[in-house]
Symmetry: C3
Subunit: 339 residues, 3 copies
């Protein structure tokens, strides 16, 4: 096993789930997701408890799904509402696993593992995705790699120079000193660049031409997310690494939910606190991320294949990998606690 | 192993086998089938006894097959007639397994397992497929599921309501009481509907408009066939479940020969004792079955995948599954005897 | 393991390797091949020693390859020249395996196994491919079979009658007596046809119409090559099996480098000592071989599948297979020595 079971995982964007059943495998478990008439999301194992036909092939009836093999009607709690033959006694033991669901920060989260442990308070705090004064949008990619390779990738921004050579790679960023901090299960990688000239994107966002403090702060949030806090603020505001809201700020949001040991669902996006009503900017940022993350996906899928093809070689940890290495250590420790 | 080895299995329709070699894997064993000049069918392991090139790539020479690698000539008994070099001594030990074959009831049957046990008397009695006064035709489908899922499917007609919603599903059928009977290795599922109004198809077949007795009798015939006796007879004829030849009668014929543990060859058709010279009706029935069975195939292949994807869930046996459950018990017991 | 590790293997034609990295797996090990500025060939494991991204995705910088993930610069010895962050101390332990390379007889040879044992003196002597007065050309095919099936095929020319029925099959060849000789690790299969009339191809090559001695001599050269010496010389020259250079002579060159246990790289060609400046003849011979070897490839790939599908059947060794059987015995013995 390469992932922690008893956790909330992003299963879908809010907009992906409708009244029509959506099939998606999370941590090796086939799920079907759909919205009740009232709008809240249901997550069930995608198998009829009778003969295991996927419920995602089923028919909606009210808030239930009717299996199209023998007609067993499954409720949103996974329990049967009607048996294959009408008037047959409903047997609650013939049920399919139901999963706790929370819809928050634009995502649908499901709890994998023991359902009695599903505490909504444990949903990771992606506050920039839902806070007043911020706007958030993004996309989804299916990636054929171990989600941990993606965590490695995001917890190290030196790869930008090569992987994103044609897009966002910037040599000057590499010069700034990098701080790694581990605080419990949270791993943070910080770059604080005091009194620098802002690059074009940030100058435009700030709507002022002045010397700024600039930051890039990557946070690994277990089990499988990385949030990257980026922005600039006028140097005279005196912002700090701990508190920096005087200028313009964004968060690159990345959540890599394991599908299997070697594939993952990649939910990505950008939250920002400037020009929040500019739908055109939102669309451009989304398109830009789509292109840039596509560059990462190509690298990661090739890396996954190469790891399998070179079983005698190990991944080496250099100084630039300390963020990812710390994150893997957190995952390792939590997997042990989980088991 | 999920199938009984020492049994006769349908390997092909009579019309599928000609002088040209036909390759088909039965119960995990690659076979080549062809007809001798005199017309009788030969079944050999599809591998030259010399270097294992498929004999189905070979050339017919008289009743023999010549391997197109080195030219070894194999007779219909699997023994060499000529070695790769002409004048080399023929060595009977360099032979390929030959299989007992019986052509009966429009099918080519092969005996898998110990050949000395191949008693033609053990070929299942598909009498409606070959009896005078009856006509029989059908088709072939390759299906990616365990043949036992198909037996389950056929030994339970409640699925018609949902799977065949758009075609033959009929709610009123579901109301009729169902009798399950086990007699040795034969499992029978019977519905007797006394004094009912015949549905359009049967009224037309009967050529009379009168009250009828109607029946549906599914029989599992080991190792892997289901025959479904259907029809109506005028109520005044006094037909019974045991004897009902006063009206019009048909048999839906299904034989699901295992190819591997998760794939099977599906031979299906319809035999009937009315309008037997109406080739148009024969063609229409065939086309209808092709369409209807295609609906089953889609369900069964998805079910097979779902079973593999949900290893922690088991197939549940409800009352409607008793026919299939009894059939599986027969298969289980015979596999043990066989081993 | 089905191949000898400590050996020189053909990895590519000389013309296949350029300054651009070429990825090719040899004996299960992914390699990247490229030429230095000075022209000599480098072979490295195709994985960056840092995070294992294929180096064949890298960028050439001088004689080095820069990984396009984090920018580690790998030298032709597999050692790092620059670490992902400039000014970081170069750590020689973070290196990728480098392979000894020899370019000889138009091929690029790599040594698989322990590199300290890579003696260039052990490269097989394909002298007709590089000797003055000879010309050599050929091609490459990727074949989905165990390389030993290909050795079997080439060490037995009786298959020509059937496999090459439409092309080079000649019944009269089959009549000539065949001598098998084993001398250490070399297996030789010889046909000497004294005082025969030359077939059209050789008559034209000889430019004379006279009675000739004709020969076909197949040599298995471990670990995986077969060279076939063919030609004719005027009978009055008194040539012998040991020495026959009075007429026209060619070598069919075949080297089947294992990729995996069930796939191989097939390097084939023809060397000759007549009309050596006739580029049109060279092209026609190449096109002819391409077509003829395509017939073998079809057979061999089907044979490989059939061997897997018939695990209860074994390859039989008849008299015609003695060449291949001896070659396999040599391989078997050398694999044991190697281990």
């Amino acid at each position: 096993m390469t992932f922690i079971r008893n956790r909330w995982y992003v299963a879908a964007w809010d907009g992906e789930v409708s009244s029509e059943p959506l099939a998606r495998t999370i941590c090796g478990e086939p799920l079907v997701l759909y919205r009740k008439l009232a709008g809240d999301v249901v997550a069930l194992r995608d198998a009829c408890p009778h003969r295991l036909l996927p419920l995602s092939m089923g028919l909606r009836e009210g808030d239930n799904l009717r299996c199209t093999y023998h007609g067993l009607l499954v409720g949103p709690d996974g329990k049967p509402r009607e048996m294959p033959i009408v008037h047959e006694r409903v047997n609650d033991k013939v049920c399919t696993p139901a999963y706790a669901v929370v819809e928050r920060h634009r995502f649908v989260w499901v709890w994998i593992g023991d359902q009695w442990r599903a505490d909504p308070g444990l949903v990771p705090d992606f506050w920039p995705c839902s806070r007043e004064g911020w706007v958030f949008d993004g996309g989804y990619s299916y990636v054929k790699c171990d989600y941990r390779l993606f965590v490695d990738n995001l917890m190290d921004l030196t790869h930008e120079t090569y992987v994103h050579m044609g897009s966002i790679g910037q040599a000057e960023l590499m010069q700034a000193p990098l701080e790694t901090a581990v605080d419990g299960d949270r791993v943070t990688l910080s770059r604080w660049m005091p009194a620098v000239s802002p690059p074009p994107f940030w100058r435009q966002a700030l709507k002022r031409d002045c010397t700024v403090d600039r930051w890039q702060i990557c946070s690994f949030i277990e089990p499988c997310s990385v949030l990257i806090d980026v922005g600039v603020s006028p140097v005279e505001a005196g912002d700090t690494l701990e508190r920096h809201d005087s200028g313009v700020r964004g968060f690159v949001i990345d959540s890599m939910t394991p599908e299997t040991e070697t594939t993952c669902h990649y939910f990505w996006g950008m939250a920002r606190n400037f020009e929040i009503d500019d739908a055109g900017l939102t669309a451009r940022l989304r398109a830009g991320q789509d292109r840039i993350f596509g560059e990462d996906v190509e690298i990661l899928e090739r890396q996954q294949l190469s790891i399998a093809a070179n079983p005698d070689m190990a991944l080496r940890v250099l100084s630039i990998d300390s963020g990812g290495a710390h994150a893997r250590r957190v995952i390792e420790r939590l997997m042990k606690q989980d088991a």
